[in-house]
Symmetry: C2
Subunit: 196 residues, 2 copies
DNA sequence: ACCAAAAACCTAAAGGCTTTAGGTTGAGGT
DNA sequence: ACCTCAACCTAAAGCCTTTAGGTTTTTGGT
């Protein structure tokens, strides 16, 4: 009998491809086994259970995003870096929607710590270097970027912008522009009175 | 034998409560029946199937958000309206995390059209009235608000901000402030050159 | 070339979830 | 008292996940 020659790595990669095709939520061991031409039970030698499979897809996605982000950011600063960062996320989400969703899959604390998540955070900080922010402002700015990028991408992916003109690309550019202006004025913004 | 006296409405409401407790993804007919003290099959008289249940929870959530938003916005304009809108979303997500997730559940085109979604969109436009935007700018601004609010809330809910100082509330206020400034300068922002 | 051990794959089975078909029982109106 | 509708039920089929334990291929040392 011919063997598929699977390993944890190949299984996870196939799982990621499946997630991109049918959606992260529908990337199940059953369907994966079917596509790999293997019995379901065989997958359980490579992956502990369905959730472990999903967590590993998440780790893979985080890694890939970190790599692309790192490449996109090389040699860029200020507005250019901001745009490169946003486009890197958005392009990744469009080419790999399942993996992108996987990134929001909750990980155990130590899985999260040893993931590429911190590396992505560090890259975001690096992208902001050109704006000359204080450490505190920097944290707020990282959160602003994360929120805006993730929010736009997830709404766009869910089809939230597809039912009205103009094309979302225009809004994306407007928003990047707004972010750049906001960040340039970030440190001059007084902290709101009500800060707790 | 005692009857529970269920209707579609009570089932959906119980489903929404369940979603808030265990998460939208785990709000299954099985678990719901268990809590209602009823056999699973009985639910299928009130709800077509598992996805129908989830869709109805989504519709309920959209309706509730529209109501709260509408109330929060009454008598406010400009920055005040912006903050009220954001806080309404965020408060709803915190008190009803399952329902909030449900709102991103994909609906059929006609279900979406007859949902409270358009009402929410109209309320967002109304909240922006004080900024005096052109219709095109208004659309971009609605998308900006939707993205930023949803992104922040969904990352916050997923615990993305809980592993670092300062508390997310501070970032939220900074971000609302940034949005207000951005919107005030929105129409003076030249459309980026590369607009397609 | 041989032969153990590891790795990959399998069958079988238990238990949970979703969904449908068809039967029973309670509650309200006449 | 009766009739009807709605609420609820049992039963069963089909799918998914997970575990236990067996078989076969591959591998690498001799």
């Amino acid at each position: 009998m011919q063997r598929a020659g699977l390993s944890t790595d190949t299984v996870v990669r196939a799982g990621a491809a499946l997630a991109d095709e049918v959606g992260f939520a529908h990337a199940t061991p059953s369907e994966l086994a079917r596509r790999l031409g293997v019995r379901v039970a065989s997958l359980y030698s490579h992956v502990a259970n369905a959730d472990d499979l999903r967590a590993r897809i998440a780790l893979l996605a985080l890694d890939e995003v970190a790599d692309r982000t790192s490449e996109a950011l090389a040699g860029r600063a200020g507005r250019e870096a901001l745009v490169a960062l946003g486009d890197a996320y958005r392009d990744y989400a469009r080419t790999h929607p399942g993996r992108y969703d996987a990134m929001r899959h909750p990980l155990s604390p130590d899985a999260a710590a040893s993931s590429a998540g911190p590396r992505i955070a560090a890259l975001t900080v690096a992208a902001l270097r050109g704006y000359g922010l204080s450490p505190l402002d920097e944290t707020h700015a990282v959160r602003l970027l994360g929120s805006t990028f993730h929010g736009f991408i997830s709404l766009e992916l869910a089809g939230g912008f597809s039912h009205s003109a103009p094309p979302s690309q225009q809004s994306w550019e407007r928003i990047l522009d707004g972010l750049d202006r906001t960040l340039r004025a970030w440190s001059t913004t007084p902290t709101p009175e009500g800060t707790r």
